[in-house]
């Protein structure tokens, strides 16, 4: 037997599942998320082992999707002192590193930065030569300032990463064990956004190191000593722990992604819309070839603009605990929610607040097995109000489906998450924009299952000069590069396929450059 364990940390619950070689569910366990995150992970791990009774040594791979890094950035806690080295002088001096950072975050990071010579043009020419002595001098200065992590960002490094790589080697010689982040491995075109992403990555290396060590410790303690450990990243694929320690920022938003991937897996769907209804929010995303579509716009993390890839999510304040009110403009839902206090504050439980769940219970399509519920309490709700509220819930979700779709055709919709009961089953067959609605078995474990089935990927995002290459040759090169990256990351070569190709010509320039982005994925070798 070779088993896999998947653990996913959510806002309210930490879930763990065990899958066998054929991806059958062998065990599942849900436990509250704890403030330190790690305790919740331990509880979930021990809980699923105990409840399923499997032999821990049968587990050959352990996948973790965690919120440690997100929390550290949002709360500004335990962040590393970061030395930022930008390569581009004399270009880029007009806007210094950290310019648009919130003051408290800037302070937490130490505000230590340098702009050195180096960097490239869009066509790969050097802006200026890399000056090794200059970099060595800055490295020594970083050392004297007690830097704990380094972020290096060169102009057009996605086109030509050589300067970033060489500068990284020099810093390593001077600072030895300090983690170094190279921006071209994190973000795409857009210097400030990529630099910001690299800085945030460097800032969470310490947090990630500790979290990963705690995870490894928990596995060992639980007797899971034959498992290869992985972390899930926010595109639904895996990182080895060595890789995750270098690129921890990639764990941000891995939760919604895991849920998406899990939903795709549970239904066998490759393309469609995933509606994940929780207690406070509904997250709607689109899967393309089984993976969440990526956001095309700059995303903010902890108040910082980055171009770090993130799943394209629509989030609305309409979950199981969302408050329902009558206003002059009609029924209004959320965005406030009673969240986990639903069993105290919900009207059906004897509380005073009318929530989406109360509406679903009053309308009669939802059933909840809880002796504290008394449906008599819902009789005070006006029939017409209940009907209008149901219509509103449905139209809110329909609106999201419509916004996330890429074409006018109806698409299959998968409904996961515990809050999913607020959608009346009778509308499944006529939900606007949906060709069908699927509510899979084990929907409440979609996230942990998504972690357990995660694949391995390779990615390329760079500008190709079309003076010496034809467009087709450039595309072919990019695809080959992405496939080889995936194999390097641990994918079984015969399972690797290209899942995404994106081409954006550079505007206002004669047609000699184009930006190509390719991603390839394959199954993990175990």
């Amino acid at each position: 037997m070779s088993l896999r364990i998947g653990i996913d940390v959510g806002g309210t619950h930490t879930d763990a599942v065990i899958l066998d070689r054929d991806n059958r569910l062998v065990g599942a366990y849900k436990t509250p998320t704890t403030a330190d995150v790690t305790t919740g992970i331990k509880n979930a791990l021990n809980g699923v082992l105990k409840s399923s009774g499997v032999d821990p040594s049968e587990i050959k791979a352990a996948m973790l999707g965690t919120t440690h890094c997100t929390n550290a950035i949002v709360e500004r806690k335990n962040l590393s002192r970061v030395g930022i080295l930008r390569l581009g002088r004399p270009a880029t001096l007009a806007i210094k590193p950290l310019t648009a950072f919130p003051e408290d975050l800037k302070e937490a990071l130490g505000n230590i930065w340098y702009i050195a010579h180096g960097g490239h043009e869009y066509d790969g020419r050097e802006i200026s030569k890399l000056d090794e002595d200059e970099i060595r001098k800055y490295a020594k200065d970083m050392k004297s300032k007690g830097v704990e992590a380094v972020a290096i960002c060169g102009v057009f490094s996605p086109v030509n990463p050589e300067h970033e790589k060489r500068a990284g080697e020099i810093i390593k010689e001077e600072l030895e064990k300090i983690p170094i982040t190279l921006s071209h491995e994190i973000g795409s075109i857009g210097l400030l956004e990529r630099e910001n992403a690299a800085v945030l990555n460097a800032a969470v290396t310490k947090v990630a190191e500790n979290a990963i060590n705690a995870f490894l410790g928990a596995l060992k303690e639980a007797g899971v000593d034959k498992a290869k450990p992985y972390l899930t990243q926010n595109d639904g694929t895996l990182m080895s722990v060595e890789y995750a320690k270098r690129y921890p920022i990639r764990t941000i938003a891995s939760g919604p992604t895991n849920s998406c991937r899990g939903a795709a897996f549970l239904t066998g769907l490759r393309d469609g819309v995933i509606v994940d209804i929780g207690g406070t929010t509904t997250l709607v995303s689109m899967i393309v070839k089984g993976f969440p579509r990526e956001s095309a716009i700059a995303v903010e993390i902890g108040g910082v603009r980055t171009n770090f890839r993130m799943p394209d999510l629509i989030s609305i304040g309409c979950g199981g605990g969302s408050v329902v009110r009558m206003t002059e403009e009609g029924v209004k839902i959320g965005p406030d929610s009673v969240g986990y206090r639903l069993p105290e504050e919900g009207l059906a439980w004897g509380g005073k607040v009318v929530t989406n769940t109360d509406i679903a219970l009053a309308a009669g399509y939802a059933k909840i097995d809880d002796e504290k519920i008394n449906l008599e309490r819902l009789k005070v709700l006006d029939r017409d109000f209940v009907n209008k509220a149901v219509q509103k819930i449905v139209s809110e979700v329909e609106g999201c489906i419509d916004r996330i779709k890429t074409g006018p055709e109806a698409v299959p919709v998968v409904l996961v998450g515990g809050g999913g009961i607020i959608i009346p089953p009778e509308v499944y067959s006529r939900l606007k924009g949906a060709s069908k609605v699927i509510r899979p078995e084990h929907f409440q474990f979609a996230n942990a299952i998504g972690a357990a089935i995660a694949q391995v990927s390779g990615e390329v995002d760079r500008v190709f000069s079309l003076e010496k290459l034809s467009r087709d040759e450039a595309l072919k090169t990019a695809k080959e590069m992405a496939i080889s990256e995936a194999i390097k990351a641990g994918a079984k070569p015969d399972t690797v396929e290209v899942v995404e190709v994106d081409e954006i010509p550079l505007a206002y320039l004669p047609g000699n450059a184009t930006r190509i982005r390719v991603k390839a994925c394959g199954n993990l070798t175990i």
Partner: protein
């Protein structure tokens, strides 16, 4: 004359994107440069065209090339000052003020950084009242002002002084230099007198951009719908309200061309709008009838936030309100239409002002 502070710059950047009619580049980098300059040097003076002495030298400053390059290879910061100084040396005279060549998009903000750094005022106006892709597409050109001598500078310290026989040659030659400089260059051109500024510029466009940005900011804070207010400020027309259902793109000679198709919602249910774009939005066709065309402004706003959507950002699912906004009268002359009319962009249609087209639709 009044002073512009950090908040004013934030507002201008948002309004400039509306005037960009889908193109003109993201004002984000220019905005940060202007804010940085103001924080180091103090607020920048905004001067009404009527306040400019007739014999003063006024020099427009701008960034030329691919916005994508500029978001990656951020300027050194003083190359645009170098371009301006080089032109001053050529004329043997100091510039009293600078002015934007293009109030739509990122070139609204570059002169503000220049003004703050050199402690010279920025004239409240520009050469387009919107965004256009080529150097001769400015109202300065319509008034016979020569783009050259033009100066171009890069971050390495290279500068080029360019003299050409006409403004079309300036466009051709400077485009080649821009590519050699790495895809973006800082430029100074169309040097003119105060009298020429008064006559040839589109007046008040920086203040207009600021008011547009402020309206959006305030309306968002109060959770009100700013689109009506924006329409009023621009004497614009609502061309359509709908959802993007299809976007087709292709690249022709360095320009991102394409079409976006919208399906009507609310009172436009069952109707369709098609927008043709080439970096900027150029022609809008509702149910087979042209409702607006270049040089009038066609601006796509996200219905919920009233924030402008660029042609690069257009994609399926956006709920958008499309506005048609009358361009400056100078573009509606015979010469104006020769330079930026639909035929220059390859559309074999006559230009009819948006207010006439909308008037006919109503009848």
């Amino acid at each position: 004359m009044r002073l512009l502070h950090r908040e004013n710059i934030e507002d201008i950047a948002i309004g400039a994107a509306i005037l960009g009619t889908g193109g003109g580049g993201d004002p984000y980098i220019g905005k940060l440069m202007a804010i940085d300059a103001i924080e180091e040097e103090g607020p920048v003076k905004l001067m009404d065209p009527s306040e400019v002495p007739d014999d003063a030298l006024v020099v427009p400053t701008a960034m030329m090339g691919a916005p994508t390059v500029m978001i990656e290879k951020i300027p050194r910061g003083d190359e645009v000052l170098e371009a301006l100084k080089m032109l001053e040396r050529k004329f043997g005279k100091r510039a009293l003020a600078t002015i934007s060549a293009e109030a739509g998009g990122l070139n609204s903000t570059i002169p503000l950084a220049v003004g703050a750094r050199l402690h010279i005022p920025v004239v409240d106006g520009d050469g387009m009242g919107r965004a256009f892709p080529e150097i001769q597409m400015v109202t300065f050109h319509l008034h016979g002002i020569k783009a050259s001598p033009m100066t171009m500078s890069d971050e390495k310290g290279n500068s080029v002084l360019l003299e050409a026989v006409d403004n079309h040659w300036v466009e051709r030659l400077s485009r080649a230099v821009t590519v050699a400089m790495g895809g973006s260059a800082m430029i100074a051109l169309y040097a003119m007198t105060g009298a020429q500024v008064k006559e040839s510029a589109v007046h008040g466009t920086i203040s207009l951009a600021e008011s547009l940005g402020r309206s959006i900011r305030e309306a968002r804070a109060k959770k009100e719908d700013p689109i009506k207010k924006i329409m009023g400020m621009l004497n614009g027309f609502e061309l359509f309200k709908g959802k993007v259902v299809d976007v087709k793109r292709r690249t022709v000679a360095g320009f991102a061309r394409g079409e976006a198709r919208f399906e009507g919602i609310d009172e436009y249910k069952g109707e369709e709008l098609l927008i043709h774009f080439q970096n900027e939005n150029l022609v809008a066709i509702r149910n087979g009838n042209i409702v607006a065309s270049v040089p009038d402004l066609i601006t796509v706003l996200e219905t919920e936030t009233a924030l402008p959507i660029t042609t690069e950002g257009l994609r399926y699912g956006y709920r958008a309100t499309v506005l048609g906004i009358p361009c400056n009268e100078k573009w509606r002359t015979k010469k104006g239409l020769e330079v930026v009319g639909p035929r220059y962009f390859g559309y074999d249609i006559d230009y009819i002002p948006v207010e006439e087209r909308m008037g006919r639709m109503k009848k």
